[in-house]
Symmetry: C2
């Protein structure tokens, strides 16, 4: 049993913190929107702010929406940094900028504390079922120490490299997912417009070099027209924004990521911020004046 | 034992025709570049032109480079059409335009003959090992009749739909393969430029939603810098040209396919027409002035 902290108790953080509490850990909790009763009922302890969480815990997890929120939680008034003492570990499970992460890690290290970036994929369902994929950046020693706690929340847990590399892997993941969705969208729309049955085409392609998790899952959604999330377009837009903003800072051209973001923007123009990201095909359909399914 | 014909005896056609001869079929052969001795030694019969092949065979296969070659073989002087009589079947295993294919099929049907479009994937290795994927367009009856012969050359054999739909599936396949290569290229280049180990990032992503045959096979080639074909860029350019030319005729916008073709063009500008198609990442690397591996 360790003294833990958990900051950010939204649709991801609440079940994740719940798993830590269920395993018998003492968990100090804080969230901008209040601490859910389900967690205090289970034995979690509500704190007034992030500073108090950091004072009471040895390992402090956070999962909040984006880079500025992490910066505020860590270094703002009554933030984590104000409550840290040497030897503690901060674990950021948000999906944020890899470049900013390296800076945050350096500033936490300067306080004599460890830092892990540990973004997740698998969404709300993965959080609830403790089946998240966790991509970690940081030292081997910190990783080894926190690993048993990660195992309470996830299944595929990889130390990718040093600080920032966990976030980099997550961005790389979101680039591929978006572009594979776009690829399946172009292919199925082409097939449908050429008069073929896109379901038959998808079948013929599975198992060959075109096969992917996206062809399997999101290809089927495009054909069946089931665009309930899943993963909302507005969240994937945020991730592609991280990719494009970091690419600009790094000096890397990502031409198809840029186009994919524009197609998401077009979906949002049609009211689609809450559609599943497979609905990116709808933007291609608008251009073709024709639908896959 | 059926009386068969095979036209086009290049690196694909020679082993494919060889499998038909080995199975005991009488095979009439023709190729612009002459009939390889390995096939006549095995019992195949060389013919002076495509017309003679069509006169002697009940099922006539062809596999030649592109749409104009198929048109010339079928409808040119001393072509297949000149040698057909009602009841015969023409099977085009080339990868050509789906729109032109519908026209070719109609003209063959008007002669009282059946037509199947049956492009393949799997390359030279698949042809040699009788392990090709075969995507077929045509009637169920013709497909059922020719299927035992397809099974001598391939493994994954799918009737996708009517004439042209086999070619459409092949184009869709090549769109996805090119765009998944581009996606993995953008992601690994981003990761490398951000300071992460691309091999570790690839590992962390396998098994999740970013997983694909391309991440597995071509992602590894990008990291190991092994760009020997495989599948040559100039061949994939031909396939994307089919996609883009047909998209124009059909009225479909394929923004990322268009970009992928430009990246292939950039590789060719640097002497890369014979590089494996995974080397598309090199065009992205030129833009970033940085390499994945």
């Amino acid at each position: 049993m360790s003294k833990l902290g958990f900051i950010g108790l939204g649709i991801m953080g609440t079940p994740m913190a719940g798993h830590l509490i269920s395993a018998g850990h003492e968990v100090a909790l804080h969230s901008r929107s209040g601490v859910p009763a389900v967690l205090t009922d289970a034995g979690g302890k509500a704190c007034a702010n992030a500073r108090e969480v950091a004072q009471q815990a040895d390992v402090i997890f956070l999962i909040v929406p984006d880079t500025p929120h992490v910066e505020a939680v860590l270094f703002g008034t009554d933030g984590v940094a104000a409550g840290l003492s040497p030897g503690k570990t901060v674990v950021d499970m948000s999906s944020i900028s890899p470049i900013a992460t390296k800076d945050f890690a350096r500033r936490i290290n300067e306080l004599g504390c460890e830092y892990l970036d540990a973004p997740v994929s698998g969404g709300q369902v993965g959080a609830r079922n403790a089946a998240l994929s966790i991509m970690v950046g940081g030292s081997q020693a910190s990783f080894d120490k926190v690993r048993p706690l990660f195992e309470l929340m996830g299944k595929n847990i990889t130390l990718v490299g040093g600080n920032g590399d966990g976030q980099t892997a997550k961005v790389a993941n979101q680039i591929i997912v978006a572009l594979n969705i776009e690829a399946v969208g172009e292919a199925l729309l082409f097939a449908a417009k050429a008069g073929a049955d896109p379901a038959k085409v998808r079948e013929a392609l599975m198992g060959g070099f075109a096969s992917s998790k996206i062809l399997e899952v999101h290809g089927e959604r495009m054909i069946r027209r089931t665009f309930d999330p899943g993963f909302r377009i507005e969240l994937h837009q945020k991730d592609l924004n991280l990719a494009l903003a970091n690419a600009r800072e790094l000096g890397v051209a990502l031409p198809n990521t840029a186009t994919a973001q524009q197609l998401f923007n077009a979906c949002v123009a049609h009211g689609g911020s809450g559609w599943d990201h497979s609905a990116m095909v709808r933007a291609l359909e608008m251009l073709a004046n024709f639908e896959v399914g």
